[in-house]
């Protein structure tokens, strides 16, 4: 329940670690970092987002910012809008994929990307020092509500995608935005792409109708009805529209690891280039990159790291196994609308069903575990685990970009302390389910032994 802070944002549990005061201090630090100026503000539909929105707005105005208030707005749409509106930055308030009770503030820079995690800790320094801006009474900021921000975004998206092909395919899609910030934009999106929309959990809601992480477990409702409804593809999203998982027309929920894989296979097939992902994403990506002769760069977990590396490496595509993708030539955001569009485009251009696109990918078995332990113990346990794994006679290649990863020819394991919860997350992927399970069991045992 603690407050997790990073150079690009702060996440906490509402009423415990994330209070109006904390939001005001961080928004104040961010505004001071920007030196005032024009700032976009957007939020999702969570019960606490309105309160944090009011708190942030107050601080931005106190610092003298000209606030363009987009109200309820998907995070990728907010990020996209920064450049066309010539803003100094944006502040996003969203619970994202986190469970009810969590919320976060994310700081977005002048080009629409999360503040660079490698670019110093200017906002944090200001937060810790309490070094905010206080405009005098005649120069306090202003607030201007903005309501018509989506059409120029969808114009750009429609230009980017092969809408003619998608339209011609006459697709029926099920979209479940978990009552979050995407709800109000689904109709417009579907109209632009010329697909028939069947929305699920698409009334804006302060509560979560299902687990907010898009993955097979959250897909039960959709998987049960998609074939009866004649749906060609099903899409589950997080409340902020940054993560996506897929359900095939046969009612088969795909692991969230397949989202980036389907997109990478499609995008690189057209135009190859450097791809960025994190160190705990499925090996499908390694295989797909190899197939398309693409260079693969691996970073720490998180949108901020992926986008930063994409810019460093002049990559064409980034994404993560948790169900995200970014095309830096379109925007600097993990973008649920773009991802859905790319999946539909892949289906339409290749004349394939979603189940066929999924079936064509190299298949691995992935096991994900969560081990409860507080951060202190978690870090110690990871040290212990590293020593144990290194000492094994069959030790593979070790990578410590983010947490701990060991690769063998037939699979890999990854263990990392969660940034949001008191957990160690373990991922084990292998060519067979038995090996994956067996390695996950072993890691779990070693960690539990140490804590």
């Amino acid at each position: 329940m603690t407050l997790r802070i990073a150079s690009f944002g702060v996440r906490g549990f509402v009423g415990v670690s994330l209070t109006p005061r904390v939001a005001m201090d961080f928004a104040g630090a961010f505004a001071a970092h920007l030196g005032g100026g024009r700032v976009l503000l957007g939020r999702d539909t969570r019960g606490s987002s309105a309160m944090l929105h009011a708190a942030s707005l107050s601080s931005l105005v106190a610092a003298g910012c000209e606030v363009l208030d987009l109200g309820i707005c998907p995070t990728p749409l907010l990020q996209y809008s920064v450049r066309p509106r010539a803003a100094a930055g944006a502040l996003s308030i969203s619970g994202g994929h986190n469970a009810m009770g969590w919320n976060s503030l994310t700081f977005i820079g002048p080009d629409g990307e999360f503040l660079d995690p490698n670019g110093g800790e200017a906002v944090l320094d200001r937060y810790h020092a309490g070094a905010f801006l206080s405009a005098d009474w005649a120069h306090v900021g202003t607030v201007q509500p903005v309501t018509n921000f989506s059409s120029s975004y969808f114009d750009a998206l429609a230009e980017w995608l092969d809408v003619a092909a998608i339209r011609a395919a006459k697709l029926t899609v099920l979209i479940d935005p978990v009552g979050g910030s995407g709800c109000a934009f689904l109709e417009e999106f579907a109209q632009r792409l010329g697909v028939r929309l069947l929305p699920i959990n698409a009334q804006p809601s302060a509560y979560l109708a299902r687990e907010p992480e898009p993955r097979p477990r959250s897909a039960r409702q959709m998987a049960g009805i998609i074939s009866q409804l004649g749906g060609d593809a099903g899409f589950l999203l997080s409340s902020d529209m940054t993560r996506l998982s897929l359900v095939s027309e046969t009612g088969e929920p795909a692991s969230e690891e397949f989202t980036f894989a389907v997109i990478a296979n499609h995008v690189l097939g057209r135009h190859t280039g450097t791809v960025v992902t994190n160190t705990c994403t499925t090996r499908m990506i390694d295989d797909i990159a190899a197939k398309h002769d693409a260079r693969l760069v691996k970073t720490c977990v998180g949108q901020a790291y992926i986008v930063s590396a994409l810019l460093d490496e002049q990559g064409v595509l980034g994404g993560e196994g948790s169900g995200s993708a970014v095309l830096p030539d379109f925007s600097r955001a993990f973008d649920g609308f773009l991802m859905i569009g790319l999946v539909l485009e892949a289906m339409a251009q290749h004349g394939k069903k979603l189940s066929e696109l999924l079936g064509a990918l190299p298949r691995y078995h992935i096991v994900k575990r969560q081990i409860r332990c507080d951060s202190r113990h978690g870090y110690r346990a990871l040290d212990f685990l590293q020593a144990q794994l290194r000492a094994r006679p069959d030790a593979g290649t070790l990578d410590q970009t983010d947490g701990l990863r060991m690769d063998w020819p037939d699979g890999w394991v990854h263990a990392r302390a969660s940034r949001t919860e008191q957990l160690v997350r373990v991922i084990s992927e292998a060519q067979t389910r038995e090996i994956a399970m067996q390695r996950a069991d072993e890691i779990e045992r070693l960690i539990e032994q140490e804590i």
Binding site: V14, A23, G47, L57, V61, M100, D136, W137
Partner: protein, 451 residues
């Protein structure tokens, strides 16, 4: 140290850009929410540029402790008081520094009866604030927010039900009104036109919160309005303060009557046409009010300075009218609070019934003259000096009140000596039928102080 924050019986007042931050406002709102309990809390503000910043901070603070903000937006302070009671809210917060300079703003706290907190209740609130621990509610219990648009109209309905609107409308009065770029700029010209059938010449009627004249409706700030009255041949002039509780009048020659005459004329109309009973006002109000009360065989009851003190005495005695000499008229049948709108309605009704110009009506009320000075004192000698004065005044047959310093009433004249709240001085004020007599009272008091 430059004074920039005052926490007292009239609320929390501070200079924007210095001590009055979003964080401070949110914390006071949390304390107030904890003080009144979960439920609706009404929020209104004046036109100051910092109003939006404090409003948003107050929203976040209230929601965090489980109170539902009910937003009135920009409204006169009396409208907020009326609405708090009418809506059955737990309480209200008025965001206004009233007649203070533009760099100041304030939070003023209102109980469920629509009255400002008295000294005891305010003390309890500040005690909660200083304890600093508020029961923050979890996300699932966070309330939303409601917006209320009809508050001003419902307030005005109470006023137009009280006075004889037909009589006023029949006269088609031409009036000039100086809105000082405050809340009056939003409401007053239209209300005078539509509800009371006046022809209106408006001055400073942009609700910018950048006050184009001194914010107090005192004669030295009303030169422009006087010119307007003369140029357009108006029957009278109305001068607002920024939040619509105080009102000053100008006669048909554009001469300011002095703010005490607002209460005098309003009391005249109430006692003559509406209801008998005593008139309640503060120790510093002019004797012209006594003269009016005497005309109708009524007493004047004096209280300590401060709106809430007058209101409590009015309610206790069941008085039909009261107020402050600074232009604040209170008619409890409408709502027990100072209100510029009931004052305007009563004065117009008086003119309509008597069919005589305002200068002639004023001519029927004896005019008194005020003399003032201040005397530097050595710190801590004030109590002994005031005790000595009290004995001297008693020896001369004065009726003594200790509500504010020493107040000596000689029937047709009075003298008041009190400590300043802001400087190491004693303030001496006297009122009598002639300037010479008032000066004599002051001179005598100075001699008494010397020994």
């Amino acid at each position: 140290m430059k004074e920039s924050l005052k926490v007292g019986v009239s609320g929390v007042r501070g200079v924007v850009g210095e001590s009055f931050t979003p964080q401070l406002a949110a914390t006071f709102a949390q304390a107030f929410g904890a003080f009144v309990g979960r439920g609706p809390v009404v929020i209104g503000r004046d036109t100051r540029p910092s109003g939006i910043m404090l409003e948003q901070a107050v929203i976040a603070g209230l929601q965090s402790v489980g109170c539902t903000p009910v937003l009135l937006g920009i409204v006169p302070t009396p409208t907020l008081l009326v609405a708090t009671k009418a809506l059955g809210a737990r309480g209200g917060i008025a965001i206004t520094a009233s007649h203070n300079a533009a760099e100041w703003n304030a939070l003023k706290f209102v109980n469920r009866a629509g009255l400002f907190l008295d000294e005891t209740r305010a003390g309890e609130l500040y005690d909660l604030y200083h304890q600093g621990e508020f029961p923050l509610v979890p996300e699932a219990e966070l309330p939303g927010l409601t917006t209320e648009h009809g508050a001003f109209a419902r307030h005005m309905e109470r006023i137009t039900n009280y006075v004889d609107v037909a009589a006023i409308r029949a006269r088609h009065f031409k009036v000039a009104v100086d809105c000082v770029n405050g809340v009056g700029a939003v409401f007053t010209p239209a209300w005078l036109r539509d509800a009371l059938g006046c022809e209106v010449v408006a001055l400073h009627d942009q609700p910018s919160g950048i006050f184009a004249r001194g914010p107090e409706p005192v004669p030295e700030n009303l030169g422009q309005l006087g010119q307007l009255v003369r140029r357009h041949g108006c029957a009278l002039g109305f001068a607002h303060d920024p939040d619509g509780d105080r009102l000053a009048l100008l006669d048909e020659y554009g001469q300011p009557l002095g703010e005490d005459f607002t209460l005098a004329l309003a009391a005249w109309q109430v006692l003559e046409r509406h209801a008998p009973g005593p008139v309640v006002t503060t120790v510093s109000t002019s004797l012209c009010v006594d003269a009016v009360a005497k005309k109708f065989g009524q007493d004047v009851i004096r209280t300590k300075i401060g709106e809430i003190n007058v209101v409590e005495k009015i309610l206790q005695l069941g008085a039909p009218v009261g107020g402050e000499g600074s232009g604040g008229v209170i008619v409890p049948a409408v709502h027990p609070c100072r209100c510029a709108y009931i004052a305007m309605a009563l004065v117009l009704e008086l003119l309509a019934t008597h069919q005589r110009p305002v200068s002639l009506l004023c001519g029927e009320i004896p005019h008194y003259h005020i003399a003032k000075t201040k005397v530097p004192i050595v710190a801590d000698t004030a109590p002994e000096l005031l005790r000595r004065l009290r004995r001297r005044f008693e020896e001369r047959g004065a009726h003594i009140s200790l509500l504010d310093g020493v107040h000596a009433n000689f029937g047709d004249r009075w003298v008041n000596v009190r400590r300043s709240n802001t400087e190491p001085v004693l303030r001496v004020t006297a009122e009598a039928a002639t300037t010479a007599e008032a000066n004599t009272l002051v001179r005598t008091a100075l001699e008494d102080l010397r020994g």
